[in-house]
């Protein structure tokens, strides 16, 4: 472990925490533009977080300690996930922990806790939100694993840093399996982050919501943490996507200059990704909840085909 | 002469596309078919005297295997055209054929003959596929020509099933080409059968195995082998009777021919009897299944369609056994089946027109109203069931004795199937021919010459095979080998 390594690790965590709300704000802004609205501005998520942190947190008298603890656990998981994904540099002190399976496990822990917490107070909305969240989760997780495995077949390792290093270092090569995995990954990310074809982040329409139903009982700083965790999750997924499919520009070990360069490149890539996500959300309509398993099964199958193709083509 | 054989039906289809609705079109149709037949006869004479023949950059090839099928095809094409003359006149009087449909029918009939002849004469396996697909398309149109719900259904099923089946054959052809390309190279016709035949021992066995599997499924669908046979009874029953006659008499033969060409290559490449075993297995299955379905039919044309499946199974089985005798029997069976089955369909066509129905229970006492049609049907049925002295008896006898010697396990199944088929067909044809009459005479006299010419030829082949024909069969049987 080097000093530079620690520095880049710290930089990455801080950047993730700070940039995540900005990414959400950017996507919302793009969506507003695409829908011919003026939008709330890029900084709106920060304002919201600030407001929520300053508000009193009301908690139901039936709530158990689990209910209070869940936001911290979820936030912690998401922060750790963003920390181990090699976004800026592959030389990170935490990189031994950056295993694909561990990463999926981290997301799963967060999911379990938020679902438990939603059921904890015993409201009907919380319960059905939890049910739907689990429905999506049990289909999305294997699909995500398959996507990561497709990528790891190329580098022969499930370590994210090794994958990114392998992909970034080869001179330009096209992997058909990654094209399939990329589509599958996009579909999984949309479902996991409660984006449009699966869930609508901008509505509280009770019959269709998933994510909003889960956090309906929270207020004040707890809600702020959960919102922040949600944007961190989106940030983490975007970074996984960029790391797997567009790994160029990530800094290597012992190169402070490259680290400095990596930052604007990352921001640029995120900005483009945000525009594309907003476009995708604007163009598609929300599907019925019964169709969601089908949607995710498709993602899973695409990822599996990606793996099969990479075996067939022997790359 | 070879070009003439192809040019006449093609020209015929163009001419009839413009004039097919007129009254004289039926005669024009016959004239073109006669021209084709005469041209093939001349071509045959040429091949007999001069040996195998190449034309147009070796793309066409006439050898002992296809030359007799060529003559047979042109001959059945001619007699069917003669038969369809009075048949179509009655259909027009009944209002089933409008002038436009008549035009479509005549034009497509010639085009169908054209595709059959191309499929037989081409040396290029790719063109063979194209011609088979084109034959499917023309017959789809012919089957649907009445535009009734049932005929549309039959045609749709026919198209979809055969389209899918024949697509598998295309994949097989691609694989074959791939194997050949490695040996022959991209230049110089790696799809030409003669070239492939010359290098067949060097073809990669792995690819050829897979290729034959696909080709077998593909052309086997067209042959009507069980379980890909579903289209066949529908298409036979719902189309006009002349179309049923050419489907059974020509199309199935040509599909078997395509299969044979592929089998020769596969046997050469594999050095094991895989192709033969496949053909025996599916052939036997078809014979058995068709025999049992025969007993459950109510529609006379459907019944004879199942009989075609049975006989195609028998032929496939014979070629699957291989060896000079079985191949000889297979070739002989192909010819007599084609002659007698189309003859039966001619008789059936007149019978159903007289009775106004295809349901066998409603056709009674044909012999009283029209003794010739009744006798034609009776004799035809006896012939197709393998009664001596007709040709089918000779070929079935040869197949059975060879099976007893070489594949004893299959003989009981074959005998059982032939017995069941005999019982079910005979018990239905007998009351249709004899018994109280319910049919009425028609205004137009039936075309009886085709029926009895076909039966006569079938009889002749059972009693006496002319020496040159015998030599052909022997030569072709040796070529198929196996």
């Amino acid at each position: 472990m080097t000093g530079l390594g620690v520095a880049s690790q710290l930089l990455e965590i801080v950047m993730a925490l700070l940039l995540a709300p900005l990414l959400s704000g950017w996507i919302n802004q793009c969506r507003a533009w695409l829908q011919n609205k003026s939008g709330a501005g890029l900084l709106q998520p920060y304002r919201m977080l600030h407001k929520l942190f300053n508000k009193e947190s009301l908690i139901s008298e039936h709530a158990s300690p689990l209910f209070r603890g869940a936001p911290y656990i979820v936030f912690g998981c998401m922060a750790l996930a963003s920390a181990i994904i090699p976004t800026l540099s592959t030389d990170l002190p935490l990189s031994p922990a950056a295993d694909a399976i561990a990463l999926v496990g981290l997301f799963a822990v967060a999911r379990v806790f938020i679902s438990l917490a939603a059921m904890d107070v015993g409201t009907s909305f919380g319960t059905f939100g939890a049910r739907r969240e689990m429905l999506i989760g049990f289909l999305a997780e294997p699909a995500l694993l398959m996507v990561l495995f497709s990528a790891s077949l190329i580098s022969k390792s499930t370590s994210l840093t090794t994958i990114v290093e392998t992909l970034a270092h080869r001179h330009l090569a096209i992997y058909p399996s990654l094209a399939l995995a990329g589509v599958a990954f996009t579909m999984v990310s949309l479902a996991e982050n409660a984006r449009v074809p699966v869930d609508n982040p901008a509505t509280h329409l009770e019959l269709t919501m998933i994510h909003e139903a889960l956090i309906l009982e929270y207020s004040g700083r707890h809600l702020a943490l959960l919102e922040w965790a949600a944007s961190l999750k989106l940030f983490a997924y975007s970074c996984i996507g960029l790391a797997l499919f567009f790994p160029w520009g990530v800094a290597e070990a012992e190169a402070p200059l490259a680290l400095l360069l990596a930052m604007p490149v990352l921001i640029l890539k995120l900005a483009i990704g945000g525009v594309l996500l907003a476009l995708l959300e604007t163009l598609s309509a929300k599907m019925r909840i019964f169709r969601v398993p089908e949607f995710l099964a498709t993602a899973f199958l695409l990822a599996v085909i990606g793996m099969l193709v990479s075996i067939l083509l022997g790359q | 002469m070879l070009y003439l054989v192809l040019a006449i039906p093609l020209l015929g289809s163009v001419v009839l596309a413009f004039t097919g609705q007129h009254d004289g079109a039926r005669e024009i149709n016959v004239a073109f078919s006669l021209g084709t037949f005469l041209a093939t006869c001349a071509l045959t004479a040429e091949v007999i005297s001069g040996g195998p023949l190449f034309a147009w950059n070796r793309e066409f090839y006439i050898d002992p295997l296809n030359v007799f099928l060529l003559t047979l095809t042109a001959f059945v094409g001619l007699t069917t055209a003669i038969f369809s003359r009075p048949y179509m006149r009655v259909e027009r009087d009944h209002g089933k054929m409008t002038p436009n449909r008549m035009r479509l029918y005549h034009s497509m009939y010639q085009l169908f003959n054209f595709t059959m002849l191309i499929a037989l004469m081409t040396n290029n396996l790719g063109i063979l596929w194209v011609a088979m697909e084109a034959a499917t398309l023309t017959t789809v149109v012919l089957v649907s020509v009445y535009r009734t719900p049932a005929s549309l259904e039959a045609a749709w099923k026919y198209f979809i099933l055969c389209g899918v089946g024949i697509a598998q054959a295309l994949f097989g052809t691609v694989l074959l080409y791939m194997a050949a390309e490695k040996v022959i190279g991209t230049e110089g016709g790696a799809l030409l059968w003669t070239n492939l035949d010359a290098v067949k021992a060097q073809l990669d066995p792995g690819i050829i195995t897979l290729a034959f599997a696909f080709l077998f499924i593909g052309y086997g669908t067209k042959v009507g082998l069980v379980p890909m046979h579903n289209w066949l009874p529908d298409a036979h029953a719902e189309g006009p009777t002349p179309v049923s006659a050419v489907l059974s008499g020509l199309l199935l033969n040509v599909a078997v021919y395509a299969l044979l060409r592929c089998k020769v290559l596969t046997d050469g490449a594999l050095q094991n009897p895989l192709a033969g075993q496949l053909m025996m297995g599916f052939g036997l299955l078809s014979v058995l299944v068709a025999a049992f379905f025969l007993s459950r039919q109510k529609d006379v044309k459907r019944m004879f369609a199942y009989s075609s499946i049975e006989h195609m199974g028998l032929i496939t089985f014979a070629f699957g056994m291989g060896g000079p005798i079985a191949n000889y029997a297979g070739l002989l069976h192909m010819s007599v089946h084609s002659l007698i089955k189309s003859g039966i369909f001619f008789a059936v066509g007149h019978a159903t027109q007289k009775a106004g129905t295809q349901v066998m229970e409603d056709i009674r006492g044909l012999i009283k109203v029209s003794p010739t049609v009744g006798w034609g049907m009776m004799l035809g049925s006896l012939a197709i069931l393998g009664m001596p002295p007709f040709g089918v008896f000779a070929s079935e006898f040869l197949i059975l004795t060879t099976a007893m010697r070489e594949q004893p396990w299959a003989t009981p199944f074959l005998l059982l199937a032939l017995g069941v088929a005999f019982a079910s067909v005979f018990s239905r044809v007998q009351p249709m021919v004899f018994g109280e009459t319910s049919v009425k005479p028609l205004r137009h006299p039936p075309a009886l010459i085709p029926v009895f010419v076909h039966l006569g030829l079938g009889l002749m082949l059972g009693l006496y095979i002319p020496p040159y024909l015998d030599a052909w069969y022997r030569h072709a049987a040796r070529m198929i080998g196996g």
Partner: protein, 220 residues
């Protein structure tokens, strides 16, 4: 380096082709099916052009041209006309539910890959690896024809099977001889015209394009 890149691009296009085949079997709407079919044709054209470019086989350009005219322009146009005239834009029902179809589809893909793997090793073509994908596309379209109960999706399945076969020919052998390819194209065109006419007749006779009406003829 250059030919390596082209080879990889062809593999990528093959993967997209497979993806489109999967999208087709999971698609419910006829209009989207036609769009997917058009896209498949376009990918096929691109792949053929690339193979032609990489191997200096000018006749592949011609066959790419035929595909472009036939499968990207003419047939989709015809299909659009048919569905507009018959007004059957939305209704597609499958006989087996879609997740089940996809699981069968995956099994078919594994089967196809297994079948093709030993064979593609023997080929000398730069696109040899894609033979398995082509076979998988053929089998998937085959399944689509079986699981759809409406006439138009069946026809699209038929056409997409033709696409798979065409891709197989291009990838395994750099395309069939020109005469054969022209013949196949002609057959496909005539076939689709006949089917188009048929659909109108079926509609007239049955008041529906549901193939499940077509079950009068069967053994009972």
């Amino acid at each position: 380096m250059m030919s390596e890149l082209v080879g990889q691009l062809i593999n990528l296009l093959a993967a997209i082709l497979l993806m489109l085949s999967f999208a087709m079997i999971s698609q419910r709407r006829i209009l989207s099916l036609i769009h997917l079919f058009t896209a498949q044709g376009a990918i096929l054209v691109a792949a053929t052009l690339l193979v032609g470019y990489a191997t200096h086989q000018p006749h592949l350009y011609v066959s790419a041209g035929i595909t472009l005219v036939l499968k990207v322009i003419l047939i989709p146009l015809l299909l659009h006309r048919v569905i507009n005239r018959l007004d059957v834009r939305w209704d597609v029902e499958t006989l087996i539910n879609i997740p089940m179809t996809m699981i069968i589809g995956i099994a078919l893909v594994i089967f196809a890959f297994n079948l093709a793997l030993p064979i593609s090793k023997l080929s000398v073509s730069i696109a040899r690896g894609t033979l398995g994908i082509a076979l998988a596309c053929v089998l998937l379209s085959f399944m689509m024809m079986i699981t759809r109960s409406k006439a138009v999706p069946q026809v699209i399945g038929f056409l997409s099977m033709e696409n798979g076969l065409f891709f197989a020919a291009t990838s395994a052998t750099y395309g069939m001889p020109m005469v054969v390819e022209l013949g196949i194209a002609l057959d496909v065109l005539v076939g689709i015209l006949i089917l188009g006419v048929f659909m109108f007749h079926i509609r007239e006779e049955f008041d529906s394009l549901d193939i499940s009406h077509l079950e009068k003829l069967r053994e009972d």
